[in-house]
């Protein structure tokens, strides 16, 4: 079978800046900030007290309470984003089409809050009191399974776990499933809910998080000289992918085309990126090669841009390595500057942003970029959105463990 083209015909998000995709994108364009003091648990004893929380999330309209109480928060986010995405795709699938409809919804760390709570039950009340729904609530593949149950998807369901690269990993694999004829429809992205005591303590103690507790809205500052770590965010972002001719045939709204997916591994360190950036460059290059275009054709990058000292400098090196002089003319931005780092969901949400950016020609700002860092010498769309028609855009995600993933999207002409 010849490779097939892949269309993005649905988008869905649940984010600290809302679950309405249009409104979410407008808020990003206007530089709204969602980072606040954590109020879901008492942070008195914690060195980090800030996050990009989703306030007042209500799954009530979407799921029966009998079922929602068996879902960890990450799963609830993933399910709601998927329902919204599928509605956005406005597609009716018959039974035979559902057999070629798959779901790849990843979570970087899964149901950590459920896990932590049941460990306490185990210690305080003994093994006979551990919840019988603990396992199916906690396991990180259950998000994909719950989406499949809800939407009737009978093709592949899977859950890549590649830390902060998870969402992009999921979308890239889903893209290939359709491109190479293994499925016709895919729902793909990531979901994460790690703003809980055990996860915040863990990330804080590895010194990955910003400690600018007194100025939450200033804490996530990708590519700024005074960045001091990332801010945890939560939520979900998913795409509905469809074989191109089918999408055209039903006159679907096509947000963008996915044309490349590149992966590489640093094989270097459990948390630090390989400092030369050559393997991050490698994954971007592989995505570009798959699309058979030249590096000069790429004029927009939704960066991983976490606001950690190591990531932003290394990602900049990687972009300079791959693109050479052309790097300076690329429009780069970091969605994380406003909503924080959604970990395994980041790539999902940022893929949605990449598609909407190419479609609208509007590039949201990287906020809080106030003091330039000599190691970050590119155009990061500092503080003000810009309008620019870009034909090709990359979305980068790099995960602890050295997992590098990039997808390449093309504007619909």
């Amino acid at each position: 079978m010849n490779p097939r083209r892949v269309a993005v015909t649905g988008v869905g998000v649940v984010t600290p800046l809302g679950s309405d995709t249009t409104l979410f994108f407008q808020r990003l364009l206007s530089g709204e900030n969602a980072i606040t003091r954590i109020d879901t648990f008492d942070t008195e004893a914690y060195s980090v007290k800030i996050a990009g929380e989703i306030k007042d999330f209500d799954i009530g309209p979407y799921v029966h309470p009998r079922d929602s109480q068996r879902m960890d928060r990450f799963c609830q986010f993933g399910l709601v984003a998927s329902i919204l995405c599928f509605e956005d795709a406005s597609i009716q699938l018959d039974e035979s089409e559902k057999e070629r409809f798959g779901v790849i919804l990843g979570s970087g760390i899964g149901g950590t809050d459920t896990f932590a709570k049941e460990v306490i039950v185990l210690h305080e009340k003994g093994p006979s009191r551990v919840s019988p729904v603990y396992i199916p609530k906690m396991i990180s593949n259950i998000g994909a399974a719950q989406v499949a149950i809800r939407l009737g998807a009978k093709g592949i369901t899977s859950n890549p776990v590649t830390a902060c690269a998870t969402g992009t990993n999921a979308i890239g694999e889903a893209f290939h499933r359709i491109k190479f004829g293994l499925e016709d429809f895919m729902l793909a992205g990531g979901a994460e809910a790690a703003i809980n005591p055990i996860s915040v303590a863990g990330f804080a103690n590895m010194k990955a998080l910003s400690r600018q507790n007194e100025h939450p809205e200033k804490a996530s500052r990708p590519f700024d000289l005074n960045r001091d770590g990332f801010v945890i965010g939560e939520g979900s972002g998913v795409l509905f992918l469809e074989e191109w001719e089918h999408a055209v045939g039903r006159k679907a709204h096509i947000y963008a085309e996915i044309v490349g997916y590149g992966c590489s591994t640093d094989a270097y360190h459990i948390t630090l990126p390989e400092p030369s950036g050559r393997y991050q460059a490698l994954c971007m290059r592989k995505a570009i090669e798959e699309a058979n275009i030249s590096v000069q054709d790429v004029t927009y990058i939704n960066a991983h841009g976490t606001s950690t000292p190591a990531n932003d400098a290394t990602e900049t090196k990687a972009i300079n390595l791959l693109f050479g002089e052309h790097a300076k003319s690329i429009h780069i931005h970091s969605t994380k500057s406003m909503i924080g780092h959604l970990l395994g969901a980041a790539g999902g949400v940022e893929a949605v942003v990449t598609a909407l950016t190419l479609e609208s020609g509007k590039i949201h700002p990287t906020v809080n970029l106030e003091t330039p860092d000599p190691e970050c010498n590119l155009n990061y769309t500092a503080n003000q959105m810009v309008e620019a028609e870009c034909r090709y855009g990359l979305s980068n995600s790099f995960g602890f463990g050295g997992h590098n993933h990039a997808i390449l999207l093309k504007k619909v002409s």
């Binding site: 029966h64 009998r66 079922d67 929602s68 009340k125 006979s128 009191r129 919840s131 019988p132 729904v133």
Partner: protein
């Protein structure tokens, strides 16, 4: 504790686990056929009731409990 008191105490727990109104929790109702429970939910309900009534319900007994009435009666006969 009589069966009426037990039912009143059990109602909110059963209703919460199944996401239904307390007034739907009647002795005649079958957990799976009438109230939308599955086998996992039934285990979950029994574990919660064990805790509330400070008792252990052995598996060979809990497997026979199918209705709200059977549950209430079992608790009435075994609670200390």
């Amino acid at each position: 504790m009589n069966t009426k008191e037990i039912l009143e105490k059990a109602k909110p727990i059963i209703a919460d686990k199944l996401g239904i109104n307390e007034d739907e929790v009647l002795e005649s109702k079958h957990f799976i056929n009438d109230l939308g429970a599955d086998s996992l939910a039934l285990v979950d309900i029994i574990m919660s009731l064990e805790e509330v009534f400070s008792m252990e319900i052995p598996e060979e007994d809990s497997e026979k409990i199918q209705t709200v009435g059977q549950m209430v009666e079992y608790i009435a006969n075994h609670v200390k």
